[in-house]
Amino acid sequence: MNYLTRWQGHEVANWPVFGRLNSLRDELDRLFEPPFEALTRSSQLLSGWTPALDVYEDKDNVTVKAEVPGMKREEIEVSLHDGALTISGERKNENKHEGAEVYRSERFVGRFQRTVSLPSPIASDKVKAQYKDGILTITLPKTEEAKPRQIDVSVS
């Protein structure tokens, strides 16, 4: 009986050491993360969340595609002002896993805003935005005046 009590005491005293070893291992994992990833992440830390975006143009439209995963449609705002398109929004910190231990937290939380100047005048009343699979696609039709036009040459 005496023996059992002493053994249990020993086991309990050991636990905090395990905890410390685990966090040491986490530290080491972090040290060996690919440098490129660490770089982009720290640069984003300085500037906040800057979703990646692409801009395309064809003869009728300018198209902007932005990566904003895990948002709700109503949390995204799109506005057009002085030939510039602004996309903004906020991802709230949902406390879905309250009391949970966090092992990795790489996803961004908070506000973002991006502005791109558009290469052509836009018919602002015809702009369409679609949000699918975490990608926001904004289609901005050019004004009639801005579209390239073919002029028929009549032969007399």
Partner: protein, 126 residues
């Protein structure tokens, strides 16, 4: 024990053969019932996901649903390669009960712990 020690993936032969992958950003939580892993993979829908379990490693691959390119590219920041990341699982995870769902480019994996390792209160009888 953290689940989710990540395996270094850059040196595997498999990876060298294929084109470069984008490493998705993840959040990992541990609750008393198990782990939750969220991975950001914009442009990937249900059809593009490939999750494989081998031994104590789980591999997440996301193929982008690359729709038609709308014209000439003026400005690029997005990387269009597929996503891939490998995690080593905590042996406490009941692998047959892992479930996955995806919503607006975020994959959520639920990895429950097996019943025998969940913390349990033991009642003291009189």
């Amino acid at each position: 024990m953290p689940t989710t020690k990540e395996r270094q993936t850059t040196t595997t032969a498999n990876n060298a053969r294929r084109e470069e992958y984008v490493v998705p950003e993840v959040n990992i939580f541990e609750t008393k019932d198990g782990y939750v892993l969220e991975a950001e993979m914009p442009g990937v829908n249900k059809q593009g996901l490939e999750i494989t379990l081998e031994g104590n490693e789980i591999t997440i691959v996301g193929h982008r649903d690359n729709d038609s390119i709308p014209g000439e590219l003026l400005f690029r920041e997005r990387r269009l390669a597929d996503y891939r990341r490998v995690f080593e699982l905590d042996p406490a995870i009941e692998t047959s009960k892992i479930s996955a769902k995806t919503d607006q480019g975020v994959l959520t994996l639920t990895l429950p712990k097996s019943e025998k390792v969940k913390p349990r209160k033991i009642r003291v009888d009189d």
